[in-house]
Symmetry: C2
């Protein structure tokens, strides 16, 4: 019989679980040992993009190989990885950048994943149909299988980030399958259960929470965020700090790893000052601590993620136990104040 | 006619609203000028508590007077302000510390509020009825009116924080009144619309979000959080940082001010190492920046809060516009993963 409240004796934790009734422990093979899962290693790629799509893909491939060489088992690229951030202006011919999933880029990445035995998160501009274009991320398992695609649910629209012109928001669908609810999805890759959200999604605690409830161990946020050059001096540091703080809070609130690869480089747009993408990619642990972080240079970040840390963090700060799911109904409203 | 997308011309903002059709502007008196609201000033009190209840109340009164002298119009005390943090052990006679609301302490605070013309948030141990005790906060307007009481919704339970023994969780109620939904409430005090949540509530983004949707301009989190002395060396700095990061993220996600007065001092509990309450009270602006912060000393923090900053922040990072209220249904579940 398993000692209630103790479970399998658990070592290496933040506070060791203490079992006062050691004689009650068992090796009953029907009980899945919760700590049997191994740590896994993730990598995120921070780089720029030019108008040369082929060069962008080749650069990403080089970085994925480097990440794998350093031990990464799951690698995530930046948002819309293979193209300039084209949303800086509303121009119909830029829809030409979109491609289907599966399509040439994902097929190439599937071959790479299989060769290196790494799972990949490949964010790109998806053409679903004429008139339906998406800001998407393909998820590929370590055997090269295309597991599926996440379509960005929260679409921004701000000067130079005219995303509502380009992207149909992700749809609310699913329900039947446990790993896919309301447009949110997680994938059980060979190495870990991962969730993928994209850029603007990172400002919505609801999205991170649902990913955790779906069982995500690590949440990837491929990103393209930068400064309006004219604002950088006054607001640059604050914006980076707000961006990082918000996502570290997702790690803390949910007791999960969070990894956010951002774009770098200044991209011009005629008639404007362009955007200076601010990098500062990072990986946070389930306490929200930065365990890997970048500046504004081309960088591959690597971090080992131990599922035991998720278990330990959630035992010590058991927020999921105490959520008032009976009281949160109003969160489904747009606004309530009368 | 008002120029759509421009509104009343708005100055002093982070990015000035630009109206390309200035000739369309109007001084139509039927349009409420959105920037007419004045800045308001808040104060929070960080102090310790001893077994001498009267001395605790007198100290709080002294600090409230000092805050008012410095211009504070709304003052919030720490969680369970007038008593030691009695939840360090489960002892039935400690229910004697509870009192009704209204009761002696809130009546005294009502008189003080009226005299100083300050609104007060007074967190204390409430006796609602025999067998129903609450971790509550009374809200008193600047004319001395007892506006109501918030009852802590999320109740922790952890070694030395045995709150589930003492406190009945806040109930899901209301619905009819716009300012009260599902146990969450905001109050339109003389100076600002305020929301109050208590301590453990601060780890739940759902709660902060609902407060913002209810129209809170500032969210108070009276708190009693500290270190287990044996953990302080290894985990102390991380715990303070996680605590602050989580709440700064509420400010960012919702574009509101957040103010958190915490307890200080080491409180003993026989048979244990006691708790060392870690202070570090702070006030954050709608970008999550600390505009006032304390160490571990007895402190009164004061900050001016300008509603124009809420407007400006939400125009520049318009998260509330883009929430996927159609997709968040799963957040009402305890867990989803299959």
């Amino acid at each position: 019989m398993l000692h209630k409240g103790c479970g399998i004796l658990w070592t290496g934790s933040r506070r060791q679980a203490q079992c006062r009734g050691a004689e009650l422990r068992t090796t009953d093979a029907t009980i899945e040992p919760i700590m049997a899962r191994s740590p896994f290693t993730i990598g995120i790629v921070q780089d720029a993009a030019t108008a040369d799509i082929e060069a962008n893909v080749a650069r990403a491939e080089k970085h994925i190989r480097e990440a794998a060489r350093q031990g990464a088992q799951i690698v995530c690229l930046k948002e819309l990885f293979n193209a300039p951030y084209f949303c800086k202006a509303e121009q119909h011919d830029r829809f030409d950048l979109a491609e289907p999933i599966p399509g040439p880029t994902t097929q190439r990445m599937q071959a790479l994943a299989k060769q290196l035995e790494v799972a990949l998160v490949v964010p790109l501009f998806e053409r679903e149909a004429a008139g339906i274009y998406r800001n998407s991320a393909a998820v590929i398992d370590a055997d090269g299988t295309l597991m599926g695609v996440y379509r960005k649910l929260h679409i921004p629209d701000d000067p130079l980030y005219y995303e509502k012109f380009y992207f149909t928001p992700g749809d609310v669908s699913g329900g039947g399958k446990a790993h896919e609810v309301g447009g949110f999805k997680v994938w059980k890759t060979r190495y870990a259960t991962i969730g993928v959200l994209i850029c603007w999604d990172q400002w919505f605690p609801e999205a991170a929470r649902i990913m955790a409830l779906l069982g995500a161990e690590v949440l990837f946020y491929p990103t393209a965020i930068g400064w309006h050059p004219s604002e950088k001096k006054e607001w640059g540091a604050t914006q980076v700090d707000s961006w990082r703080t918000m996502q570290r809070a997702h790690a803390i609130a949910n007791g999960i790893f969070v990894a956010s690869p951002n774009r770098i480089g200044r991209e011009a747009e005629p008639g404007t000052d362009g955007i200076e993408f601010f990098g500062n990619s990072f990986i946070a642990d389930p306490s929200g601590r930065l365990i890997a972080s970048a500046g504004e240079e081309e960088t591959v970040l690597i971090a080992k993620c131990d599922p035991a840390e998720i278990e330990s963090t959630r035992r010590n700060w058991p927020f999921l136990r105490d959520r008032r799911v009976d009281a949160y109904g109003p969160i489904l409203q747009r606004y309530i104040a009368g």
